[in-house]
């Protein structure tokens, strides 16, 4: 069986056919279900099961393991397409096809691939546990500890993970834990464990209240003397966890960039419709040039983000180093989405501030895109760091 995700991805005819179906699914099923998602703060069960049947949970899993084997360009297109609807629909499968899949691909043993790829492709929900109450990307401060079981049967994990997307729904978590007391160079004190969420000792806190993104859930994951077998250690060796996590970051950033781009397009379409319907001074407000400026600026920026997405994903598929490009795309697309949803509220005017209309929801939902998977500021630091290093090496 082939283990690497093909850079060629799926043949274009099949992929186009799928995108066609997906666009229709978004329009006919997901958009009409948004109000229900918001009212109940959850993705309805029937839609969840349809999404699993459609193959969305295994988009990036190789074909031989029950997935679709999409390349990065195709994967980003799917994310952008589905992100046209409320963010909860993307969120529920985003860890499966993003961080979790990527960690298994980069670090998993053959047995781990054979075990977990088919399961996540079939719709088992994954979560990814790196952040803690007192640490995030600074792994030196990580408190969650895995120590070898004194009886020689695997590992015992203790600690708390924070802001874990999908934790309340997850079937499996990839948990980062330190396997060394002292911080080691290259974060070699951190290892990654595949932990089924029904393992005794795993508990999930109540979902955090959020500004937006109704229906997608974030919660703490508590690990209290959680026993896992030896083969739960990702890659079968300690000290690799942080590296696997970092290798998944470009992928996660591209996903958020694609989601920002799709949602900006949605907000703009909504504003375009509103501007044509809303009358002032006896004519549609779309006739006014200052409204037109906001529409045109938004369209232009979305186009720029789409062009960046096409470029960065092509680079990933060619195997280039994309840390700078992925960071730049994510930072630009998320900030762009923030500007677009702000203009959309402005175009809606008074109605833009009312919960009855969609504009204020777009505004709240989009805010997180500038924060998670790396804030704009941390991404800017990374881009500049890379630029300066390249300059020094010239």
């Amino acid at each position: 069986m082939s283990e690497t995700v093909s850079a060629n991805g799926m043949d274009s005819e099949t992929f186009d056919q799928f995108i066609d179906q997906l666009e229709r699914y978004v329009r006919e099923r997901l958009l009409p279900a948004e109000k229900e998602v918001i009212a109940n703060d959850r993705v309805p069960e029937d839609i969840l099961s349809e999404m699993k049947d459609m193959g969305l949970f295994g988009l990036t899993v190789p074909e031989d393991y029950g997935g679709a084997g999409l390349n990065t360009r195709q994967y980003a297109q799917v994310v952008r397409t589905i992100a046209y609807a409320a963010p909860a629909f993307r969120s529920i499968f985003s860890i499966n096809v993003g961080m979790f899949n990527s960690a298994i691909k980069n670090g998993g043993t053959d047995e781990q691939k054979a075990e977990w790829w088919p399961r996540i492709a079939a719709g088992e929900v994954a979560c990814f546990g790196l952040t803690e109450p007192g640490s995030g990307s600074d792994s030196a401060a990580m408190q969650t500890f895995a120590k070898p079981d004194p009886d020689g049967n695997g590992w015992i994990l203790n600690g708390t993970k924070r802001y874990i997307t999908n934790a309340p729904h997850a079937d499996v978590g990839l948990i980062m834990a330190r396997t060394e007391k002292d911080a080691l160079p290259k974060n070699a004190h951190v290892s990654a464990f595949i932990v089924p969420m029904d393992t005794p000792g795993v508990s999930v806190g109540s979902a955090d209240e959020k500004m937006g993104q109704a229906g997608s859930h974030v919660a703490d994951v508590m690990l209290d003397d959680v026993h896992v077998p030896g083969d739960a250690l990702l890659g079968g060796e300690t000290g690799q966890g942080f590296r696997f996590a970092m290798q998944s970051l470009d992928n996660g950033r591209i996903s958020v960039g694609a989601a920002s781009t799709g949602y900006a397009r949605r907000a703009l379409d909504s504003a375009l419709k509103y501007a044509n319907e809303r009358q002032a001074f006896g004519e549609p407000i779309a006739n006014f040039q200052l409204i037109q400026q906001m529409l045109a600026e938004s369209w232009t920026e979305i186009y720029a983000a789409e062009a960046m997405m096409a470029d960065v994903t092509a680079r990933v598929d060619r195997g280039e180093d994309t840390i700078k490009h992925a960071a730049a795309f994510k930072a630009f697309a998320s900030e762009m989405c923030g500007r677009v949803v702000d203009r959309v509220v402005q175009i809606y005017g008074g109605a833009g501030y009312l919960a009855e209309y969609d504009a204020e929801r777009f505004f709240r939902d989009a805010r997180i895109y500038r924060i998670y998977e790396g804030t704009t500021q941390i991404l800017q630091l990374q881009i500049a760091k890379r630029m300066l290093r390249e300059y020094a090496n010239m």
């Binding site: 005819e13 459609m54 193959g55 969305l56």
Partner: protein, 248 residues
């Protein structure tokens, strides 16, 4: 039992059609095309019959340009077992399609031919009926429900003012109406599997059918633009207005 499901590639139902400047038809250049929605309902119904153990094989058929292969691939991704494209670049009319379908039915010997009641491009609503006449087999048009009962098919038909139930001896022709079912979305795994299903390409000549046009389109025009309404103060004013317009 085998079910034949003819499907037509038409302008997508979400696209706003534009009439060509010379009034000769609808402009299809760079326009999104999809499976005729009524045919999609027919495919779905055939799949449901197969899933219920009432049918063994579903053969999707399309008569049209090479691009109609995409439409057939959609039918295969939904769950049809194999497909036949009768390729022609001619604009085919219901009678020619019905003749081709009759020839295929003679080869395939299906228990049912299930197709949309009409295609949303020309709204002819003729192919199913013409096929029934050519095959000299019973027809159940505008199906609202379809139920297999031994050697017969029971079709509830949507007619003015209600539903009419007919029982047809198979082989029979059923044309599907909007409320029969809600077609499924083809899943990615099934789209991938559909690539491996067989799709035969034939020509009208293979079936001895001449697709030359029998009908002439004299003009195609946009519907008249709706006139703006008028607000009235109260019911009395409304009645006055309606009387003045001669509609009350």
């Amino acid at each position: 039992m085998k079910i034949l499901v003819p499907v037509k590639r038409v302008i997508d139902y979400n696209v706003k059609p534009r009439v060509k400047a010379d009034g000769s038809g609808v402009d299809l250049a760079n326009v999104k095309m999809s499976m005729n929605p009524f045919d999609e309902i027919a495919v779905e119904e055939a799949i449901r019959l197969k899933e219920a153990g009432k049918a063994e094989e579903i053969v999707a058929i399309s008569v049209g340009p090479a691009k109609a292969q995409e439409t057939l691939r959609t039918a295969l991704a939904m769950g049809a077992d194999r497909a036949i494209l009768v390729e022609t670049d001619d604009e085919v009319e219901p009678l020619a399609v019905a003749k081709i379908l009759k020839a295929i039915a003679e080869e395939e010997q299906p228990g049912l031919v299930m197709l949309g009641k009409q295609a949303i491009d020309d709204d002819s609503n003729q192919t199913g009926q013409m096929l029934a006449a050519l095959m000299q087999r019973p027809q159940g048009t505008f199906a609202n429900t379809v139920e297999i009962d031994g050697d017969s098919v029971i079709v509830k038909r949507e007619i003015d003012g209600g539903l009419e139930t007919v029982k047809l001896t198979m082989p029979a022709i059923v044309t599907t109406d909007l409320r029969l079912n809600e077609p499924r979305y083809a899943s990615l795994p099934n789209i991938m599997k559909a690539k491996k299903k067989s799709l035969d390409v034939k020509t009208p000549a293979d079936y001895g059918v001449d697709t030359a046009k029998r009908l002439t389109t004299t003009n195609v025009a946009e519907p008249p633009v709706r006139q703006a309404g008028e607000k009235v103060e109260d019911v009395d004013a409304l009645v006055m207005k309606m009387k003045a317009l001669g509609i009350a």
